[in-house]
Symmetry: none
């Protein structure tokens, strides 16, 4: 979804003339992006092993050969998808500028952001689920991904300290585990909604349920961080 938009945004429909002059790539980039987008869907719904190269090519309206032309192999395409999705998530986190907000406001914002990002990028959740099943083998392999250090934890630490100084946030909170909890409350809801819905015979994907969940997640975290 967001991917297609991003891609489109890159080429502001050039005139026929301009195109001839400025576009040395024919449609290389477009094809690449189409393959990535199709692959993201395929990998996130079927996993690395279950994904089919033919399906990806077909969905990208590209030739199967192109997939190898641009990415080398199914696995390398998978890594490319992972890198892009993971990188985008990190990038989004980095752009939050939480330190500009009041501490409690920053915490609330982050929880809501996590929830919204999960909702808007459910493929990433599935992608990560698959990657975790494989022991993060491909994430480890990718230099680009390993290097994306999560400075967000530092930001959280700063926020917690500021809140403590103000007496609004209780002391002794581990910023990493707080981050994990904030992620967990949203991620798990989306990642396991299928089995949960069956188990509880309650449609957890509904809009009403989501509103409920978002509020709940915020409440849980806020109750935890506030000083008594």
């Amino acid at each position: 979804m967001a991917v297609a938009v991003t891609t489109k945004a890159k080429r502001p429909a050039p005139s026929a003339k301009a195109k001839a002059a400025l576009e040395p790539v024919r449609d290389a980039e477009r094809t690449r992006q189409a393959l990535l987008a199709a692959a993201e869907i395929e990998f996130s719904t079927k996993g690395l092993a279950g994904a089919r190269v033919d399906v990806i090519a077909e969905q990208a309206a590209a030739n199967k050969r192109m997939l190898y032309y641009y990415f080398g192999s199914k696995e390398e395409l998978y890594v490319a998808v992972l890198e892009r999705a993971y990188g985008a998530m990190r990038e989004a986190e980095r752009e939050l500028n939480l330190t500009n907000l009041a501490p409690l406001e920053a915490i609330r914002t982050l929880v809501e952001f996590k929830f919204d990002y999960c909702q808007q990028h459910q493929q990433i959740i599935a992608l990560l689920a698959g990657e975790n099943m494989l022991g993060a083998a491909y994430l480890k392999r990718s230099k680009r991904l390993r290097d994306m250090n999560l400075s967000l934890v530092d930001v959280i630490r700063t926020v917690l300290d500021a809140g403590m100084a103000r007496g609004e946030i209780k002391p002794g909170i581990d910023p990493l585990h707080l981050y994990i909890s904030m992620s967990a409350l949203s991620y798990f809801y989306f990642s396991n909604s299928a089995t949960l819905s069956v188990a509880f015979a309650r449609q957890l994907n509904s809009t009403a349920e989501r509103v409920l969940r978002r509020t709940h997640a915020v409440d849980v975290i806020m109750a935890f961080v506030k000083s008594a």
Copy 2:
């Protein structure tokens, strides 16, 4: 035949008569269980699509044909694994007898139970992750699994009501979402430990880290349910 000899060798030679009557049954069950155990590992580490029938048979020290003899197909074996793992988890939850405890104690117990169960059965987490990627297609298909209704939510509701009556637990908590949060705080930590460890360059699987996490999970939930 050589086959019979091999089989016999496995345990103290019983009388010829007893052997004819009892042995095949027990060995059959043993083979079945070996296949299930091997399959659980294979499916939970590779997913349904990535799992290999040959590997399962080999790991079970059984013949591939037996797999089909007992389970019919790879998918049916997968469902059997799922049913067993999921059923066991439900069974464990049912045996908790939370209503015998004081409300806050019951909540704490449940959170700790969730954490401990996740830790002790990490294959189930991976299994569920895979199943969720597939939209819970097989869980839906299994009559046995659909019928395992989660009465635990009712138990939680009862506990919450009792706590409210005592003034120990704040009102307005949705028992289902509380259950999801309790699960999430432990499940996510285990299910995503591989990618989280890479992302934060911090070994989240260590014993020290686990102790930390368990306490943290309890703290988060307790802070949330307690009346202000």
Copy 3:
């Protein structure tokens, strides 16, 4: 040709009953041999790169899957073919017992043997030609082949020494280069008969021509070794 004979020789048409009892292999060995035989033809006429796995399977009246079942990969099958052909050649050389003959007789016998073996196993010539184009990469890789040390050179040395002692053979002949020359005179005639026939517009494969060549090869070597 010889291959098929060898294979057949291994199973003296058992009665239906005996077969059931004695053959635990179903047709494993037969299938393996059929694949090897078909592969030898395919590899020797098309080379490793040009050979087609499908063709080999079809010619062996086997399923393509069996090829991988027994040999693992096209390359490993190629090595198996090479090992068998090369090993057989060495074995044949080893069985010559040249030291029992008078020196000059031994030399003549060896030249004639080389010629006859080349004629009877022209696939090996083509196989070796292909392998040499690849820099003997696979021959080097095969432990079995590397270990087949050519003691024949030692035999030749012994023969030359005996001949010198008798005054029948001239001194100073390098046994290795003599062996290479004996091989060359026959090998080259067969290995290059296709291009030579075109170049000289003379059908070098004819029986008449072969008789001529055999005599010629013997004459050249005998003239060389005899003391003046």
Copy 4:
């Protein structure tokens, strides 16, 4: 365009006019030759089937499209390579002027020439080996190659007759088979040096070994032709 710039850079900037007229032709020929050279290496090391069009183009620093532009197809390029190499060899033989030499000197010269040519053009040996595996199919197909009749045999016949007349060369030698033997003694040594080196655990490519071989080849042939 960038292309023109690159091209220009290759040599001393000619006048604009001259450039338009002369450059394309010369560069065309240069590209053609680069492709032929790269193809010779590729075909001689991998064979027709194993050779890769991409590799040839890349090694020639040319575009793959050019390969098709100039040669039409991989096979036609192969034939072009074969024609060039084979033609050059024949041409070299033709320029020997053996009839100007004394008979025995002529024979010796030819053997040495064969050896030296093999050593200096080992790609041709590999090329011919590949072509022979294919039954000389492409050599047959090429009109140019078929027409290069090997008049050398006639020269040899003349030399032999002259030698016989002088009483220096023994009678009854078939000039074609003598030619084949002279070729064989050198060709086989080079064509099979890879497998021979492995088989005898002796590095046959060394300079010392080559000197030995050259002398040996001459000795063998001279011993054969000389009248007793």
